[in-house]
Symmetry: C2
Subunit: 180 residues, 2 copies
């Protein structure tokens, strides 16, 4: 079955952004020619799901072409309907239902590109199969947490750890099959 993966960076204290969507804490680990496996990961992905706030942020900061480039099917989870554009669908239904349907279809894997709200929703339904988490060597002190309070317990299996010379540590976990 297709798996649903996270590929995300967090500070050591567990934040994916400082207040006001400030991502400046990522700067010290940005390095020419080092993508921490992102391109290789994206090669395994043909479908992206993400929250509306994250989508709007990326469109504003990078441009709509980041998602709407004809390469992958993109689902933006939103409470407010918008007309679909190119390969991007604005989805107002239940995200868990969408993921169940996508997983039952054939294809490459599915990438959840955040943000924290949609990740929380998927974790509440135990729908994330793989966690690729990059820990940036900083305590940011405040902001948006990767993991919100109030989810069921889920045990994981460590697949891999890699340390980079920027101080970034990338850990790969998968859902513990003994729980299934």
């Amino acid at each position: 079955m297709r798996k649903l993966s996270l590929f995300i960076a967090t500070s050591l204290d567990g934040y994916i952004a400082k207040p006001d969507d400030d991502l400046s804490f990522l700067k010290p680990v940005e390095k020419e020619g080092e993508d921490y496996g992102y391109a290789a990961f994206m090669d395994t992905i043909d479908t992206i799901i993400l929250g509306r706030k994250t989508y709007d942020y990326v469109v504003r900061e990078i441009g709509a072409s980041h998602y709407d480039n004809g390469e992958r099917k993109v689902y933006v989870i939103t409470r407010t309907a918008r007309p679909d554009t190119g390969n991007t669908t604005f989805y107002t239904g239940d995200p868990a239902g969408l993921v169940h349907r996508l997983k039952s279809e054939n294809g490459k894997n599915i990438f959840c590109d955040g943000g924290a709200e949609i990740i929380h929703e998927l974790l509440k339904h135990d729908l994330i199969d793989e966690f690729i988490i990059s820990i940036v060597p900083v305590l940011v002190g405040n902001g948006t947490r990767l993991f919100k309070d109030g989810r069921p317990e889920q045990s994981l299996e460590l697949v891999k750890v890699e340390a980079f010379d920027t101080g970034l540590v990338q850990m790969v976990y998968r859902k513990n099959v003994r729980d299934a």
Copy 2:
């Protein structure tokens, strides 16, 4: 100068205990003959500081002899004075002031044994020099977070990462000297 170190285990989602001081998430990584470097670390320590709630918890669960064994000086940070016992001092003053004084004295290193409140207090004053953090492969979903909201940003240097066959990942960071 003596350094102040954390040596602590957290779930991947950043909790050091589930609600009601439930530490059962640590069970899957407990392994005969594997202490994840704890004894070697404690050999470098002659002074422990910890919060009153953590102290009471350990005394209740393990016994007063865990701390009051004549080996190390122990400072319990509390709002309510208690008579000192053996090598244990109940300290009602400002924890940052205590740490400044201890660091200015000669001796082996200082271990902050938690809990989250005293760690938060020390981080607010940038007083933790070394972070030895063991990540247990589980999302517990709720509980007491290692890092509370509302601290200054602090950049760190990665010193070491080690993965164990239980799936525990131990990371060692030190305060970034470029910030000093």
